[in-house]
Symmetry: C2
Subunit: 250 residues, 2 copies
């Protein structure tokens, strides 16, 4: 069994300030993960480590070699903070950088070498991936969001649990989380679903939801939950009812 | 045309002290590279950033999750120093971490996603790889030397120039560099060729030479030269006579 846990960049970093991490939150998350079996793949968002330099260099529209370097080095540093925090919590993990191991085409993952990730899982090591820049056959380079990574990995690894931790209680409509959503009932809520607090070049809650609906279409349901609340990671990974469940349309 | 430049860890780091880089040497090398066309792949050795933690955790013999994490994070940091120095010299490069993009079998590269490297080259970005730890189908994990990366990449990318910079003048016999060596005349010198100064878990000059003789067997000749001497990088990349040429046996 493989379980995929995403932790949003809004939890790990101060989304309004470049390169400002939240070390206590990173450490708390690491300790919560340490209570879990090691069948996990962890994907984290880039938060201010990625979105701010990506916006500064207009990476969504333009090809900038310097922008790629600065943005990648910044998100790789956040990844190292996460891996180190896990180590201090007694969990061994290794970074897997999308820039090194996958190729995009028009912003979508086209090739991805999964062997190192599978081998880590076999050996009790949690692979840690993150929102990143990556080379793109059509555009030179593009941004690959943590949410796209979740969808791709969940499909490729046939994940049994997909838990997407955000800094809100789920997909909010009028301030309250929907218990569940599917592609069929998306239209009635669509206008009410907003973007992300702070800077987000990858589409915020709307972008996340569209990725996870694609995943649900393939038969893999997921949950969007508030990872800012202690104990929720274990609850989400154990399949308890919380947040918003992204369901396959009947 | 693709050219491959390897810079030994002994140039970039103080091989006797863990995590001690040589920033002036890294900066000098970056400036020398900045005078070259951008058809380069750069591979650097791990130096004390890799060999000292790898020895501490006995990574050549044992599987250690913590050892993998500590060693990888350390060599990744050296790679970041190199990429940053190149940026300051006006050359855009991006790190490509072997741990993320390849898989070993019994210590040898079995799978390697080359697409990001090719795409970087197409877009005028120098891919920077390094000696690293990597997942291994037979052993869980193993060390992949910068020299093995050079051989693999030279073959896969059909490199026209392969220049391997060391901190000595070439393959030394009685203190003097042999002008050339091939598999056929290896036996007469073999006992005279030593290991590496400082700690080296990947076999020093002997390991390097065996890799490059394999490459010569495939028809790709290379040169081992002293990258500690200013100007030698350009000379080696331009095919001037210096150091020791690793020739194909006639």
């Amino acid at each position: 069994m493989t379980r995929i846990l995403k932790i949003g960049g809004s939890i790990l970093t101060d989304k309004s300030r470049e390169l400002v991490a939240r070390p206590e939150e990173i450490s708390r998350i690491a300790h919560e993960i340490s209570t879990q079996p090691d069948d996990l793949v962890l994907v984290h968002g880039a938060g201010s480590f990625g979105h701010i330099p990506a916006r500064k260099y207009c990476l969504s529209q333009e090809f900038s070699r310097e922008g790629l370097r600065v943005t990648h080095n910044s998100v790789a540093r956040l990844c190292e903070l996460v891996v180190e925090a896990l180590g201090q919590a007694g969990v061994e993990s290794l970074p897997v950088h999308p820039l090194s191991c996958l190729q995009l085409h028009s912003g979508r993952i086209e090739r991805f070498l999964l062997d190192p990730i599978k081998e880590m899982l076999k050996n009790g090591i949690i692979p840690v991936l993150h929102g990143d820049v990556a080379m793109d056959l059509a555009r030179g380079a593009a941004i690959v969001s943590g949410d796209q990574l979740v969808t791709y990995l969940a499909t490729a690894l046939q994940a049994e649990v997909v838990a997407v931790g955000s800094n809100v209680d789920g997909v909010l409509v009028s301030g309250r989380p929907l218990p569940s959503i599917s592609r069929k009932n998306l239209p009635e809520f669509e206008n009410a679903i907003g973007g992300s607090a702070g800077v987000d070049v990858t589409g915020g809650m709307r972008g996340k939801l569209l990725e996870l609906l694609d995943l649900a279409d393939l038969g893999i349901e997921s949950v969007i939950f508030n990872a800012g609340i202690e104990g929720n990671i274990a609850r989400a990974l154990n399949g308890e009812t919380l947040g918003t469940r992204i369901r396959r349309s009947k």
